[in-house]
Amino acid sequence: MRGFPDDPVREGARLRARLRDLLDATFVETPRSEPVAPWVPRADIWATPEAVIVEVEVPGLGADDVEAHVEGNVLTITGSRTPTRDAGRYLERQRPAGAFSRAFTLTQAPRDVQARLEDGLLTVTLTR
């Protein structure tokens, strides 16, 4: 059991000051206003005997913001996300933005290509 502090009021103020410092340290303003890292959307690739399925994470993008293009045996997915312009300042900024382009080489040119965009996930099905 801890003893009584000499002066409870001062102790209270000290505690409050410590808490304030802690909060200040947590919310140090990030000097940059633009996202740092270039955007390389994460992708999963699935294979079945009939098709190759490519799933690409494109959160926040609508059908007009992303494009899937096949030329020969290369699937190229391009798109761009405008950095969110929130009013005020950022306390934390991790979400990437800007333009991206990813190319996937297939073993052979697909016979058919279908793309679907749902919940920020682009699914491209390439029929062998």
């Binding site: 801890r2 009584f4 502090p5 409870p8 102790e11 209270g12 103020a13 505690l15 909060l23 947590t26 919310f27 994460r42 992708a43 999963d44 690739i45 699935w46 294979a47 079945t48 005997p49 190759v52 399925i53 799933e55 994470e57 494109v58 959160p59 926040g60 993008l61 609508g62 969110t84 929130d86 009013a87 005020g88 300042r89 950022y90 306390l91 934390e92 900024r93 991790q94 979400r95 990437p96 919940d119 920020g120 996930l121």
Partner: protein, 140 residues
Amino acid sequence: MRTVRDLLQLQEQFDRAFREARAWRQSPAAEPGFTPETDVAQDDRAYTITLDLPGASKTALKVYAEGGALIVSGHRERPNREQARLVRGERQHGRFSRAISLPSDADFGQVNARLQQGVLRVSVPRVRPADGGRIEITVD
């Protein structure tokens, strides 16, 4: 005497909270499946928290406030594709959890959350006195 006891109790609570936080960080069970990329913005009226959660469903998502922090947790599973073989796996699945501590003027009673196109946007208003209202300042 009431104040003294309250202060001592508060101090105890702080000590315990920090001890527990340390223990939690060190435990392997605390390892989440992934950590969604997050933006936190602040203006005069609100804090806006934005998380990238592509492929996550509303039903597998929990948003709540606890101890001055906004907590977003949930899980996202790899789709079950019968007969398909995963050739390359970059996407992260499993459990996720993010706690965003906000300053004391965050009004958690008025939180607004929306999941759209795989992006979760949560708005937490800041408490401020009504225009022309008076704020009493204590002189130390």
